[in-house]
Symmetry: C2
Subunit: 328 residues, 2 copies
Amino acid sequence: MRIQDLPTPALLVDAADLEHNLATMAEALPGPRLRPHVKAHKCTALAKRQASLGHRGFTCATIREMEGMAAAGLGEDLLLANEVLDARRLGRIDARVTLAVDSPETIDAAVAGGVREVLIDVNVGLPRCGCAPENAGALADRARQAGLEVRGVMGYEGHLMIVPDREKQAEGVREAMAMLSLAHADVGGEVVSAGGTGSYDSNRVATEIQAGSYALMDTAYAALGLPFRCALQLEATVISVSEAFAVADCGLKALGMDHGNPEIVGGGSVWFCSDEHVTFAPETPVGVGDRIRLLPAHVDPTAAYHERMHLVAGEDVLESWPIDMRGW
Amino acid sequence: MRIQDLPTPALLVDAADLEHNLATMAEALPGPRLRPHVKAHKCTALAKRQASLGHRGFTCATIREMEGMAAAGLGEDLLLANEVLDARRLGRIDARVTLAVDSPETIDAAVAGGVREVLIDVNVGLPRCGCAPENAGALADRARQAGLEVRGVMGYEGHLMIVPDREKQAEGVREAMAMLSLAHADVGGEVVSAGGTGSYDSNRVATEIQAGSYALMDTAYAALGLPFRCALQLEATVISVSEAFAVADCGLKALGMDHGNPEIVGGGSVWFCSDEHVTFAPETPVGVGDRIRLLPAHVDPTAAYHERMHLVAGEDVLESWPIDMRGW
């Protein structure tokens, strides 16, 4: 099949760029040094490519992702790097399941749900989940007393992922990981899980990096100058042309918008997006029926809108991959 | 089932508020005076409620919505208020199908796809689709020469939907509809289709109003002081609590973010949303495991993220409705 034959909007993944990204990361963080985060793509077919490069443990953000990875035969070592209050579905998954906990309540939920292994989630500066570093040891004690295996700690320095000055970023990562190390000293265990695409090369403390965006990338991460390419593009059709602007058939329901407007491949400026449209000023004239491509600003909420992504080479569609871990 | 038993995040629709909204609109714009836009909810079960109140014609934004409405037995008079370059799927739908066209190319696509009826889409000030008013007559001639039935015109004054000063808004709507009337004089036909929730009471020119948001509403529309209630809420679980903030399990993949952050029912301020989390400062203390509810800022891209919405009364779940017209 040719890209031209796909109905639009259609999510495209450039096969060569994807392979470049996966290979580059696997060289920097081989095998268990990387625990790829599937939240960025929610696609078991893509996760299988990551596994084929030697990464056997994965990170998930939702129970649905955990279930999907297990069902796809990728359940060797799954970490739910998030807190849940109802872990019963996790206890039924046929896979090695490790769950983040950061409070007595989430420890109790892990036990009640039949989860056996946990990480103590530590707040290292991002105002989100995680206990205070000084409380990690007591939580680990409590978890062990409740019969849970505590594998170690995790602490996501998410507030530092997209810092343009990479030296300042690295300094922030060192400070955040110093907090995680303190907690780890109290907690014990072999695992120190942290990091992301923005700190894959500066986080020297984590035993495993939870990067996800590196595989497909987006314009927000591209601004950092990392060695990963924007493999994900949105194909759209020009459906209307006026003197000053043109309109293509992709909009708010095809693009995560929290990081702003998409960029148009080959130039042109986006005026605004509405539900099913992008209005833009093309750099060179376009006609009704022409195809254009856009680079999303944020990969995760973009992928979550789509049923599938199409692996492409040139103008050919090589494979169509269901985005099969959407929802909760 | 009780709301407490739903996994979170879960999209709730208050049954009383929904009925209020549907009844209020049906009184203002009875029967064919309203052509409800299904893009706001993408849910055939909700569309059936709208049909039961006497609205037999519907507006769609995508081919998938047209197919879904026809499959649900709601195909008496479906308008695709959008341009398409490949209308073949439309030609195969077992329903009365009317398609917006605004160029020779989209007229050709309608003919090639087997579509029989069209509206001439006119730009009335929103920089998006639609021909210039002075070109509408010539396009109608061309469409008729190509064998299409031209039912009339449409022109969406979307740039005026959310104008806080309702007098200014009404003035803008009058100006926009004057442009549409000029085009209609050249085009002929019985249909003048326009308007939306924001202009349902000020648009006196359209023979039918394409409102969609009124059924479920959102905080952006709520700011206008219309007589419609926010029926749509997102139920989430508090999964982590710190001194200054708390975290609930709904985020960017459960909320359309282009109109900004959601509001928390009962007070509190949202700090930020990330993929699967909202970090907020609660107004009154919350505990891990508590449920909270949020009002989305933009209903359309919020509904498009969810597999289903749950009709609720008090703490009871009355019905669960698939959001069955997602995608394209």
